[in-house]
Amino acid sequence: MTAPAISVRNLRKSFGDFEAVKGVSFEVATGEVFGFLGPNGAGKTTTINMLCTLTKPTSGHAEVAGFDVVTARDDVRRHIGLVFQDQTLDGYLSAEQNLRLHAELYGVESKVVKPRMEQVLRMVGLWERRDSQVLTFSGGMRRRLEIARGLMHSPRVLFLDEPTIGLDPQTRASIWGYIRQLQQSEEITIFMTTHYMDEAEFCGRIAIMDGGEIVALDTPRALKEAVGADRIRIETADDERAIAALGERFGLEATVSEGAVSFAVAEGEEFVPRLFAELDVPIKAVNLSRPTLDDVFMSHTGSTIRDAEESAAKNKNRAVMQAMAGRR
């Protein structure tokens, strides 16, 4: 086994008295595709910022490509590529000029700049557009260009913060295509964040993050198996009473999410007939599903990722309003 590409112990970050990352620990092996899955505000970007030396950790320790992110910042920076959550291209420059600028900043040897540029631009399908001003690019093209730029200096670890957010399904699929291709053609470790459940499935391993903590970490398959149970969602005439009845009669813990009563049972197919026979609340619809990452998230946090998202958004709105009120 080679040394891990990323190793993190007890990493913490506070902003004032708000703790955004509450002591996370994990390791990512070389060549792995590792995903951080969590709702907005979970602390994914903050963690990435610490790993790529943009933010100093409040406490804890992290190494990337074998270098300490606090004491060997420059060495870390030489070995990582970054695709930020927000766009960071110079729109006035052409695609080629953006990549050249990057190569200069990273001290890439002049004679390999051209061939490397051709390689990465061809990979993301932008070679023909290399002379166009970036301002004329669509959102998906810009994202692809940023991925190409992040790869320009052959990083050992590529960080992608929500690389597919807000993109159409086709572009999302092609971005996943590049990531798989990269795994085969270059010795690269990929660390990415997402809040799309379906995308997390593509990762070798995922860490589920919620409220600044890692609540689960394993391969998507193992995580789903660990949930063990199937998930049943029922729509009823009276959710409150249904939850109470499920608790009394079957000893099941049910919650309401996204407008339906939902609970987990070991053998769903056999349970459904009993449910209809024994529950004295009328059932309008029933849905049975094998465990998904949604269920994994649910079983570890008690809410769906969408619910978590909404409450985070509410908090954020409140914070923004307060900040604005404070400034006036």
């Binding site: 420059d74 060495d75 030489r78 960071t88 291209l89 110079d90 600028l101 990273y106 390999v112 490397r116």
Partner: protein, 289 residues
Amino acid sequence: MSTDALTVPTVQVRVPPRSWRSEVRAVKIVWRRELIRFQKDRMRIVTSLVQPLLFLFVLGSGLQQLSAASTHGVDLKTFIYPGVLCISVMFTAMFSAASIVWDREFGFLREMMVAPVRRSSIVVGKVLGGATVASLQGLILLALAWAVHVPYSVGLVLGVFALQLLLAFSITAFGVMVAARITQMQSFMGVMQMIVMPMFFISGALFPVGDLPGWLAFLNRIDPITYAVAPMRTLVFDNLNLSAEAVHTLNPPITWFGWAVPVALQIFMVFALGMAMLGIAVVEFNAGD
């Protein structure tokens, strides 16, 4: 798309450890980016000419009738020409510095900040780039010398360019220093206007600084721009055939309690101030997250 990728072999790149050479490369590319952007931004070249031209031809021609008696026959346009050479670079330099605020807003600053080079290289490249762009802009005004009866000479052209570069450097450094703290475009432009406008008016770009009322003389002497405008005027006047009285009235020496400050010291002060502000800007950007 995917067939493309298969036909192109993987090119492995190695990023060398940091060295002074990589820092120089970083300064150079940040500097060049400013030039490329300037070149693409034709509108900016045109719009930033408006103000100096107004001062020179409208104010200069308009007030000429009042002042003919007191200028010993020197055209007022000729008199304010050195001041206008200064104002043209001042405002362009301000816009150059503002680009660092845009860079932050549009995220590009992060791309530069996370590169394996010192932040000071980024800041130095930015300031030098801004200064170069501003003095190139200033060169356009040099083309107007004939229109205000100033004959060309090699010394004039080189001297004006050097002084403009110096002034542009100091103003850009000042702007970048402010931009380290003020991250909103509107506030930034507001603060810059609030500081640079009065400094320009007080500097004596538009009037002789000989017999000013006490309060104005005091403000004039503590205004750094004064020490850029005076050498510029001396340079231009040295190129003209003016009577001794005219020179004495229109370009009196800058004095501190009766002591005439040498031109070399004036120039040095502008430079030193620029370097100091560049230093502060570097420290501030290093301290930021």
